[in-house]
Every structure is written in C-alpha cells, then in structure tokens.
C-alpha cells in the first residue's frame, strides 16, 4: 500500500492507523499536528483513521520562524 506522507510516497506492508504511524516514527504526539487528505485530524481521531492507498498525510510541527 502506498501513501503520500509529507510529499513523499511511502510503502506500507499493511494498513496502519495514524496513531500507530506516529508511534512508529517516534514522533511526540503532543507536538505534531496532522492533516489527513486536506483536513485537520485532531488527536482523538488518530486511532480510528487508517492509512489507505493514495492517502495524503501531512505531519507538521512548530519550528523557529520570524
């Protein structure tokens, strides 16, 4: 299964939930925000949302900026 994560096509052996993906990538859940197919996905929905073929996921966080 292929999904587009932060502009890159990634292959997944099996379907994962957003929550699992965040844990797998060792990202601190409290500091990232997720946009799932163009809509903001709040943290309480990460468990239920599963990555599907051709999904587009943006995982964002704050950085320094002026």
């Amino acid at each position: 299964m292929k999904a587009r994560i932060n502009g890159e096509d990634l292959d997944f052996a099996s379907s994962v939930s957003i929550a699992e993906f965040i844990i797998q990538r060792k990202l601190p859940p409290e500091t990232v925000v997720v946009e799932y197919n163009g809509a903001i996905l709040t943290r309480d929905k990460w468990e239920a949302a599963r990555l599907k073929e051709n999904d587009v996921l943006e995982v964002l966080s704050f950085v320094g900026g002026g």
Binding site: I5, N6, G7, R25, K26, L27, P28, T31, V32, V33, E35, I40, T42, E58, V59, L60, S61, F62, V63, G64, G65, G66
Partner: protein, 255 residues
C-alpha cells in the same frame, strides 16, 4: 503611568517582539527570549522530518510568552488560511501573523492576499497580525477586515537596513488607530529605537538577534532600545533646526 501595549484586550508588558528563526540552537533562542524579556514570540509551521529525532521548540519558550505562529511559506490567502487553522489545531492559540509572500527575491508581502486572509481569519476568532507593505489604503482595509494590528516592514526581511519605509510608516501611525508594529528589516538597536520614537507600538526582530555574535546580549540591547524609544516618543522628541542655538546663556560673561 501604565504604558502597557494592549492588543485585542491582551496587555503586553514588553514592546519588543522576538522571532525565533535562525538561532544556532533552541537553548540559545530561549536565553535570548529571557534576556530581552520579550512577551510575544513568533514561530513557523513546517513538515516534520519523519526520519530523524524531533525536538519541540515550544518547550523552550517561557510560559508567560504569547506564541504567535506565522504563515510563512504561504503564497496566497488560501494557503495562509490553511496554515493558520493548522497552527490553531496544533494548540498554538489564536494569535496569527499573516505573511503571504509570493516573491522569493525580495520577500515582499502581497497586501491584497493578506487582506483576504485577514477577513476570513478575523471572523474565525483569530487575533490577526498582518505583515504588509506600509500602504495607507490597505491598512484601512485591514482595519475594516478585523486585523488586531498592522505590521509594516521597515525594510525587506533579513536585510538589516533599518526603517527604510519611515515616511510611510509614520503615516500609518498617524492615521490608523490599531497598534502599528514595525516588523522586518530592523538591523540594530538604534533602528528599533527610531521606530519607537516615530510612535510605533512595538517592534519585531529576528535576524538581527539570531545572527548576531552574541544573540543573548543583543536581545537585551534591542529590548532596552525599544523601551528608550518608547519613552522618548511619550516625552516628545524635539525637531531639528536649521540654525545653531546656544545651550548656555550668552549674557553675563566674567569679562
């Protein structure tokens, strides 16, 4: 006399705002915030590198600070609106600096798109701080659209050239009732003082602090310059004169 800056009902005790980009480390940025006493700091939103370790900038920002996300990277109103909504969803609060920059060479903002984004975001309850070219008609449009302040550039971002737009900023200060915050181009503390002497409500600096030899020390210098400039504005700065005028009496000499 209490001279606190009020933006959308929020009392802000320091008129020096600090951007957090370009610092060598988050720790250094934190020390610069502390040494300056800044109470409003900006941050940006970017894609997480999902391959490497991740540090959280927010934990380095003192609790008493207002965190204002910017919409840097946005090239039009729609992108700015999208970034603002994501920033709020990420727990950043309602403060948003709208920065719409379609031009990579001069990094000048697009006022028309900024006005469109301001209209939408102000209705959604954001405290909208638009970064714009200093134009009076556009500042009035932003004011009508619900902006919380107007943030005209002093000079293009990162140029350290100072308050090049001085005359136009002065007009905004005289004509617009919202706080006018000079953002971008401020290169040295004397520039910051100059902006404040003109009557700016605050100054936002990033590059000139983050890229200085000692960011922590210069952050303090900027903060002091902003305070001095503000006091001078309140005191009433005298105007230049064409002719010399003695400071000491010219009568009653010893001879």
């Amino acid at each position: 006399m209490d001279d606190a800056l009020i933006i959308s009902g929020h009392k802000i005790d320091n008129r020096f705002f600090l951007g957090t980009g370009k610092f060598a480390s988050y720790k250094l940025m934190q020390e610069a915030i502390i040494s300056s006493g800044a109470r409003v700091v900006t941050v940006a939103l970017r894609r997480v590198d999902t391959q490497s370790a991740h540090d959280n900038i927010l934990k380095y920002i003192p609790k008493e600070c207002i965190i204002m996300a910017n919409t840097s990277g946005a090239r039009n109103a729609d992108e700015a609106i999208r970034i603002a909504r994501i920033a709020r969803a990420a727990g950043c609060g309602d403060w948003i600096k709208i920065e719409v920059i379609p031009d990579n060479k001069y990094l000048l903002p697009d006022n028309a798109q900024t006005i469109l984004a301001t209209e939408v975001l102000a209705k959604e309850g954001f405290i909208v701080m638009p970064y714009v070219n200093p134009d009076l008609a556009d500042a009035r449009r932003l004011s009508d659209a619900g902006a919380a302040s107007i943030m005209p550039l002093g000079a293009p971002i990162g140029t350290n050239k100072g308050v090049c737009m001085r005359e136009l900023i002065k007009i905004l200060i005289q004509e617009i009732s919202l706080p006018i915050i000079v953002d971008a181009g401020i290169g040295r503390p004397s520039h910051a003082a100059e902006a404040m002497e003109l009557g700016a409500s605050a100054v936002l600096v990033n590059t000139a602090v983050a890229t200085a030899e000692d960011p922590v020390l210069i952050a303090q210098a900027f903060s002091l310059a902003v305070k001095a400039g503000r006091i001078a504005y309140r005191a009433g700065v005298v105007l230049p004169k064409a002719q010399a005028e003695p400071s000491s009496p010219l009568t009653g000499f010893l001879r």
